[in-house]
Symmetry: C2
Subunit: 326 residues, 2 copies
C-alpha cells in the first residue's frame, strides 16, 4: 500500500479529499484491504512474535522492532532456538553491529563469545526447504495450482500471452500469508524486504543467535541457502535507517560506540506490559487476498497507464496491521 | 558484490586472508569484476553525471549523491529538462522533502512554486518505452536473444527445465549496461534499487524537476508508468538512511526543519573542482559482463548450497566504479 509517485501538489489534493473520489474510482490495493471483512483477517498468536527493543535514538525516541516468526513446516529448528534465546533473555545487552546498504542489518553477539542457553545448538544446513505435501493449505490447492501453471506455460509457449515468471523458482505463491517459492516438489519461504534470516558459517546452518533483516531489494539468491525465520511487521525503519558500516569490514561497525544496543528481545506472549501488542494478517486463503494480489498486479487507478499484468512475490507483501486495543 | 551473510567470526577470517583463498576458490561476482581487463570498462562522460550535494549531516560530514543519466533512446525529454535545470542551478536551495520506507526518497521544490527555467516543460505521459529497433546494441543481438528465449520457453513448457522468468515483462536484459525489459517490440529501463525517476501528476509525464530515488525493493509496477531518468551510482546511503516521513502525509516531512537542504546540483562536466569525479562501468557487451551475470545467477562459492539458476534483473546491477585520479 505504497502511495504513488505523485508530485507534492497532488499529494496535498489526495490528502484533502480522500473520501470524495472513492465511489467512482476503480479498486486499489488499499481499498481492497479496507473493504476486507473481519472474517478474512487472522490474529497472530503473540507467542509467535519476537519484540526487539533497541536503545532509544539520539532524540530519546523508543525504537521497537516487531518480528513475526515463520510457522511450521519452515525453519522450525532455528525458530525453536530463537524462542529459547528470547526466553533466556540472551539478546539483552547485545547489539545491531552490521548494516550494509541494499542488503541487511545484522544483530546478535558481535564477538560470538557469549555462551548460548541450554538446548540451543547449531542446526544442519540442509533444512531450508519443506515438501509441498507438508504444507497443508498449498497441498489442498496443489491440483489447481499445477493445472493453472501448466495452462499458463502453454499459453506463453504458444505466444498467446507474455511470460510472467519468477527468476528464482518454478513459481511462487502464498502459504498462511507467507510468500513461498515452489519447485520440483520443494517449497521454501522467500527472502523479501523485511525478511529475517539466520547468519551462519560455511558448513553450518547457524543457531539463530545471529540474525539479520533484509533492508533492500529481495536477495532471493539466499533462498534455500539460509534459514528464513521471520519477517519484520513493525519498526523496520529503525533498522533500515541505521548508518551503513564501512565496505572494508563488510558493513560491521568498526567502533563499538557505533553499535546499536539491544535493550531486550522478548516473545510477544512474555512481554511485561498491558495491553500486549496484537496484530492480524489478511488470510491468503480469502477472496480479499486474491483480490488484493490481482489489483496489485493489475493497477487500474488513473495513475497507471500500463498495468504490469504480473507481480513478483516480494512486491505483494501480505497486509498486516495492529488490532486496536479495547 | 554484497558480502555473504556470514557470522562475525568468519567475517574476520575472510578479512584476514582475502588473497590466500583466491586461487583455489571458484569465481565469485567480485573475482570476475576484479579480473575484467581494462578494455571491458567504459568511462562515463561527466556530462552524463548529475552531482547533488546535500547539506552536511549532523556531524558535519558532506553528503554527495552522484547520479548517472540514462542514455538515449530512453526518457530523453526529461533528461533534456534535467540538464537545463542543473545548468540553471534550479535545485540549489530546494530539498529532499519526502522519504517512504521500502519505497523512495523524493526531492525538488516541495511547494512547486518555483518558476522553471526557460525551455523546461511538462513531458507527455506516453514516452516511457522505446522500440526494440531503436536500441542498437540490443537490435544487433535481437536474433540471438529471441532464439535463445524461444528455445528456453520450449524447454520450460516440456518440463526439461524449471521456469526462470521475469514477473513484469517478456524478458529482461542489459543495454549499454542499463537494465531493460522487453515485450512485444517495446523496450524500457527498469525500476531497480537506486533508480531515479520523475514524480508526476495524473495526466502528465512531469518535467523532471521533482525526482525520486528508489530505496527499497524494485517497484517494477512503475515501469512504463513513470520516466526512469537515471541511477544513483554513489551516495545512495545519504538518501536511504534518511528518517522516514509520516504515513499520514505519504512520507512528506510535516515540519520544514526535517527537510534535507540541497546545496547544489550540477552536471559532472560543470563541477568547479579538480579533479572532477570520474566513473567507469563494466560494458554489458563484454565477456566479463556475461561471466558476471552467470556467476551471480549460479553461485559456486562454498557458502551457496543451492545456486539459484536464475537472477532477477534488479539483483544484477552492472558494476560501476570510480576511476582513480592520476
Amino acid at each position: 500500500m505504497k502511495p504513488s509517485l505523485i508530485t507534492a501538489s497532488l499529494l496535498a489534493l489526495t490528502l484533502a479529499s480522500p473520501a470524495a473520489a472513492q465511489e467512482t474510482e476503480p479498486p486499489t490495493p488499499a481499498s481492497v484491504v479496507a473493504a476486507a471483512p473481519a472474517s478474512d483477517w487472522k490474529r497472530i498468536d503473540p507467542a509467535d512474535l519476537l519484540v526487539m527493543d533497541l536503545a532509544p535514538d539520539a532524540a530519546g525516541k523508543p525504537r521497537r522492532v516487531v518480528i513475526q516468526l515463520v510457522p511450521a513446516p519452515f525453519s522450525q529448528g532455528w525458530v525453536g532456538n530463537i524462542r529459547k534465546l528470547a526466553q533466556a533473555q540472551w539478546w539483552d545487552g547485545t547489539s545491531v553491529y552490521r548494516v550494509v546498504d541494499n542488503w541487511v542489518a545484522q544483530w546478535g553477539d558481535v564477538d560470538e563469545s557469549k555462551a548460548l542457553p541450554e538446548g540451543v545448538s547449531e542446526q544442519p544446513d540442509d533444512q531450508y526447504t519443506a515438501l509441498w505435501s507438508d504444507v497443508p493449505a498449498l497441498y489442498r490447492q496443489a491440483g489447481d495450482i499445477m493445472v493453472n501453471e501448466a495452462e499458463r506455460l502453454e499459453r506463453v509457449a504458444s505466444g498467446a500471452e507474455p511470460n510472467r515468471g519468477d527468476s528464482y523458482a518454478g513459481f511462487t505463491t502464498h502459504s498462511n500469508s507467507w510468500p513461498v517459492a515452489v519447485e520440483a516438489g520443494d517449497v521454501w519461504p522467500t527472502h523479501c524486504y523485511g525478511s529475517v534470516g539466520v547468519a551462519r558459517s560455511v558448513g553450518s546452518g547457524g543457531t539463530g543467535s545471529e540474525l539479520y533483516a533484509v533492508i533492500g531489494h529481495a536477495p532471493r539468491q539466499l533462498d534455500r541457502n539460509i534459514a528464513v525465520v521471520g519477517r519484520v511487521i513493525e519498526g523496520i525503519e529503525y533498522l533500515s535507517t541505521l548508518p551503513r558500516g564501512p565496505t572494508g569490514t563488510n558493513g560491521v561497525y568498526e567502533d563499538a560506540s557505533q553499535r546499536v544496543p539491544i535493550l531486550s528481545v522478548r516473545l510477544g506472549s512474555e512481554l511485561q506490559e498491558i495491553p500486549q501488542p496484537q496484530f492480524e494478517y489478511l488470510d491468503s486463503d480469502s477472496q480479499s487476498f486474491a483480490d488484493y494480489v490481482h489489483v496489485r498486479a493489475n493497477r487500474q487507478d488513473p495513475f497507471y497507464l500500463h498495468p504490469a499484468g504480473g507481480i513478483d512475490i516480494c512486491n505483494v507483501q501480505p497486509p498486516i496491521r495492529r488490532i486496536p486495543s479495547e
